[in-house]
């Protein structure tokens, strides 16, 4: 058993005290909670370091990252190829995911059913998916079956046959599932929100359309595969019951000859926030709730404001201890859940609030949300609330050490964004240095007010007039079409 706590130290948080007298803060700071301050708490923040993966090179030049974890006889392998799923034509949207999914639906020697049965026989799961900067093929399974799994990985990655009938079946399944997705209000909200934030390029789409599915041909799939599924600049991340040496040898035996570079990353504009306030009302007949997605463009992952923004959001909207939850659920009872977050990556840069409220309180709920937005922009966060938010961010790191998955993710983040090797080691210090002024500055900059983008999915007849009080309303139907 390897212990992953390398250092335990106490971060001094001068103003923090378990028995902080209640009278010190303004009553509105902790709306929705009554603090008796009688619980025994440890003021020590358990500071953990994530294990760093062993890093070597495979024969074909790919980087190999390994975290050994011998607690159970399982292994996870993730091959990250440096091509973007966003690199596909909008008119045939879905091509990249069709190509990825087709890998496990036929090789030169195995048909789809045989692959599914083989995986089940080996106690494993395997699948490919495309992402923003990297696309992946992953498997996880029982270590005792590692050799046959590696052989199967080689087969699906390097010898896919893309059977025409399997592609036809995939397209038919996708059409049927799309129809079901459109009955879900969260889908309709996300569809409009992405289209508003990232207009006119591929990021506007969250799912294929019947038209784009029709344009996906076997020829296009084969071409997409040949062009993109290449290793140069990619990496392989492994965790589980193995050693770097053992897994390197096995991977070299199947990937040694796999070479070549995928096309360049897409060039997608990262725009400033939208200037004009607008409300998009999506009419979903028979709805008894209004689903809200509220936000605007904000920061990407490399922004120097990222860490202050995380602290600000911990105060405002992340989790049940945050203001939005305490006020709108606990104090008002308007919702079952509410939260906000930053989608900050290479190609996404937005701030987003999600909630659903009963139709009757659509107006009051929106007012309260805006009140919280206004408050965090206009008033400095009180010292105790800020300290608790920072403490929460740092202290929760301990929970991430239970599985090597978090350590792998953290290592990949460092590579993906070119961060220094000690990025995560110094992250807690950076969090603790964030000041009330920092929080207010990023709140003013990234929490929208005069330029709110509001998506509301619900029964238009019942909420149209209410929403109009908050700004100009544009109506859409549940098929994704503009009404007027």
């Amino acid at each position: 058993m390897t212990r992953h706590i390398l250092t335990i130290c106490v971060l001094s948080v001068a103003s923090l005290s378990a028995q902080a007298p209640q009278g010190q803060q303004q009553p509105s700071d902790f709306k929705g909670v009554v603090r008796k301050n009688l619980a025994p708490i440890s003021n020590e923040i358990l500071r953990v370091k994530f294990p760093k993966p062993t890093e070597t090179k495979l024969k074909n030049g790919m980087t190999l990252l390994v975290i050994e974890d011998h607690r159970s006889p399982t292994i996870s392998v993730e091959i990250a190829m440096p091509f973007s799923g966003l690199n596909e034509p909008m008119e045939s949207y879905g091509l990249s995911s069709a190509t990825a999914e087709m890998l496990t639906l036929g090789t030169k020697t195995l048909n789809a059913r045989e692959i599914a049965e083989k995986l089940a026989d080996l106690g494993a799961s395997m699948g490919a998916s495309t992402g923003e900067r990297y696309s992946y093929i992953r498997f996880s399974g029982l270590t005792e079956n590692l050799d046959p799994l590696i052989a199967l990985l080689q087969d699906v990655l390097l010898n896919p046959s893309f059977p025409q009938d399997e592609l036809d079946k995939w397209k038919a399944r996708m059409l049927a599932n799309l129809k079901v997705a459109r009955s879900q209000p969260q889908f309709l909200a996300a569809e409009r929100f992405q289209a508003v934030l990232y207009p006119s390029d591929i990021r506007a789409m969250i799912a294929p359309t019947p038209e784009s599915i029709a344009k996906i041909t076997r020829e296009a799939v084969v071409e997409f595969y040949n062009k993109n599924f290449r290793p140069d600049g990619g990496l392989v991340a492994v965790s589980g019951d193995t050693s770097a040496k053992q897994i390197a040898a096995k991977l070299d035996s199947i990937l040694g000859e796999w070479k070549g570079a995928p096309p360049k990353q897409p060039d997608l504009p990262m725009r400033e926030a939208i200037a004009e306030k607008k409300i998009y009302l999506i009419h979903r007949p028979n709805s008894v709730q209004t689903i809200f997605n509220i936000g605007n463009r904000a920061i990407d992952r490399r922004s120097p404001d990222y860490i202050p923004a995380m602290v600000m959001n911990r105060v405002l909207g992340q989790g049940p201890a945050a203001r939005l939850f305490r006020n709108i659920r606990e104090d008002k009872g308007y919702t079952y859940g509410i939260g906000s977050n930053f989608s900050a990556s290479h190609f996404r840069n937005h701030f987003q609030l999600d909630t659903s409220v009963r139709t009757e309180v659509t107006g009051p709920a929106l007012e309260e949300i805006l009140k919280e937005f206004r408050d965090i922009r206009d008033r400095g966060v009180p010292a105790e609330e800020l300290d608790l938010a920072k403490r929460a961010l740092v202290a929760s790191f301990a929970l991430g050490t239970e599985s090597p998955a978090m350590a792998i993710r953290n290592a990949l983040t460092i590579r993906e964004y070119g961060f220094p090797a000690d990025y995560w080691d110094t992250y807690p210090e950076k969090v603790m240095k964030v000041t009330t002024e920092d929080v207010q500055r990023v709140a003013k900059k990234y929490v929208p007010m005069d330029n709110l983008q509001i998506i509301a999915v619900g029964d238009a007849a019942k909420i149209r007039e209410t929403l109009a009080k908050f700004g100009p309303v544009e109506e859409w139907d549940a098929e994704g079409q503009k009404v007027k």
């Binding site: 058993m1 390897t2 706590i5 929705g32 909670v33 009554v34 603090r35 009688l38 619980a39 025994p40 708490i41 440890s42 358990l46 607690r71 159970s72 399982t74 789809a112 059913r113 089940a120 026989d121 080996l122 106690g123 494993a124 399974g141 029982l142 005792e144 038919a172 399944r173 059409l175 049927a176 129809k179 079901v180 459109r182 879900q184 007949p285 028979n286 709805s287 008894v288 909207g317 992340q318 049940p320 201890a321 945050a322 939850f325 659920r329 606990e330 009872g333 079952y336 859940g337 509410i338 939260g339 999600d354 659903s356 409220v357 403490r391 202290a395 301990a398 929970l399 239970e402 599985s403």
Partner: protein, 465 residues
């Protein structure tokens, strides 16, 4: 030639062992305090965290008529303050000090859990002990949680396609009121709940002798047990609640219904068979049966109905066990251009095959492998283990089910699976629900009861992110 066959058997056994290393058992201590609280502790020093789970022997089965949804509403009240913990302070402290937490209610039990950094052991114990000892409920707190729960119902059922279908399935398959209503409850009954109801429920069901406390993680068993005694030891025992009668009169004929769903865009077929209580000898085989029948892309239903016939967009089979009568459920989302009748006929054909012939050795072995992997997964998270230990102890008086379930599953034979299929997957023992998208626009909208997705009351509580 007995000797020879003996050798062959030994050899097979030996290679079997080589190919399938045993899953290490979960070791734990099992102690009962004087006030009846059962305490289970399992050490795991891999990460500096621990999980604390408290499972109470009360669920929607214990609700009376006119108070459906109450057990779950009560669960919300457990976050609204006790003698030394203010309303909302429970999650405020848990999240601010690096942890995470939730609660969940089903028909049989109510479970509360936290996962925290190891230096906050006292915090977790204190929070759970204080609300077990001294829940402090006001009318205002009840009112706002009533609203939150009604919102939970809307989000999970009334504003989602098929919500009503899942609720109706329980109403149709059971005759005994205990299981015949949904966990989330009706809006009317939620409105009827009073502060006195909350107090009474607390007194009867939230006593140490009706609960199990499980702690798993970076702990020292002796030291932890001493702390448990310190925090929980003085909470008084109450009279043991009367177990509710869960017996169902035998089902004599198939029950079927058609539902119109104003939010759905595709028909949904739901079939459910009654199965015996979780502790029955048939459970392991039924779990195995669901796995190979409808548990993923290699399963019979997926291959036949999704891939070959292209009738279902998605298909599932699962075994949901309870203290009393459980359910073996099959669901198919029907594709455009296909019908509920086609789907039902094909599924019935597949069920008939289970009756007429044993599953293949390959399928059986596949199922065994899948179960092993699942159980290995259960063992990696401290929270999953704590929840399992607390739940199985409170519901079945048997925390060792985390180990024995695996042994039983690995002992299931093809003959067992055929036997349980014949015994329980019978037409006269099932319900069939056909849900179709309703015709017409919003002007046809009537008052609820309306649709939704999965029974949400068993979902995590504060759902913000």
């Amino acid at each position: 030639m007995p000797q020879k066959s003996c050798c062959v058997a030994l050899l097979l056994f030996a290679t079997g062992l080589l190919a399938q290393p045993p899953v290490p058992p979960v070791k734990f201590t099992d102690t009962r305090l004087e006030n009846g609280l059962r305490v289970i502790i399992a050490e795991d020093h891999y990460a500096p965290v621990y999980a604390i789970s408290v499972s109470y022997g009360v669920g929607s089965k214990d609700e009376r008529k006119g108070r459906t949804g109450f057990a779950h509403l009560f669960e919300h009240m457990m976050f609204k303050g006790s003698e030394k913990v203010g309303p909302g302070e429970h999650f405020f402290l848990t999240f601010n000090y690096g942890g995470s937490m939730n609660g969940t209610t089903d028909a049989d039990r109510t479970l509360y859990f936290e996962i925290l950094p190891k230096n906050q052991l006292d915090l977790g114990l204190f929070l759970e002990a204080d609300r077990m000892r001294s829940l402090a409920i006001t009318k205002e707190n009840l009112e706002n949680q009533r609203q939150a729960v009604k919102e939970e119902r809307r989000m999970g059922l009334d504003n989602q396609p098929y919500g009503r279908t899942f609720e109706r399935a329980d109403e149709l398959i059971y005759d005994n009121f205990a299981y015949k209503h949904s966990v989330i409850g009706s809006m009317e009954d939620l409105d009827a709940a009073t502060v006195d109801d909350v107090k009474e429920f607390f007194r009867i069901y939230y006593a140490p002798n009706n609960a199990v406390l499980a702690l798993v993680g970076d702990l020292d068993t002796k030291e932890t047990l001493a702390k448990v005694k310190q925090y929980f030891g003085s909470i008084p025992r109450q009279e043991q609640p009367k177990p509710v009668d869960l017996t169902e009169p035998p089902s004599k004929a198939e029950r079927r219904e058609k539902l119109d769903d104003k939010l759905a865009r595709a028909p949904l077929l739901l079939m459910a068979y009654r199965i015996p209580p979780a502790k029955s000898d048939d459970t392991a085989a039924l779990l195995g049966l669901a796995n190979l029948f409808g548990g993923g892309p290699s399963s019979r239903l997926y291959q036949k109905l999704v891939k070959e016939k292209e009738v279902c967009a998605q298909v599932f089979a699962n075994t949901a066990t309870r203290i009393g009568t459980g359910q073996f459920r099959i669901m198919c989302l029907v594709r455009p251009g296909k019908t509920l009748e086609e789907a039902e006929a094909l599924i019935s054909e597949e069920v008939a095959k289970l009756h007429s012939a044993p599953v293949s050795e390959a399928e059986l072995k596949r199922m065994h492998t899948s179960v092993r992997r699942t159980h290995i997964g259960i063992r990696t998270s401290v929270l999953t283990r704590a929840n399992w230990l607390a739940d199985t102890a409170v519901m079945h008086n048997d925390p060792n089910m985390i180990n024995s379930n695996l042994e039983k599953a690995l002992a299931v034979t093809a003959a067992d699976i055929q036997r349980v299929a014949k015994a329980h997957l019978r037409t006269d023992n099932r319900i069939v629900l056909h849900t179709s998208p309703a015709q017409g626009g919003p002007q046809l909208a009537g008052p609820p009861p309306a649709p939704g997705a999965k029974p949400p009351a068993t979902q995590p509580k504060p759902a913000a992110q």
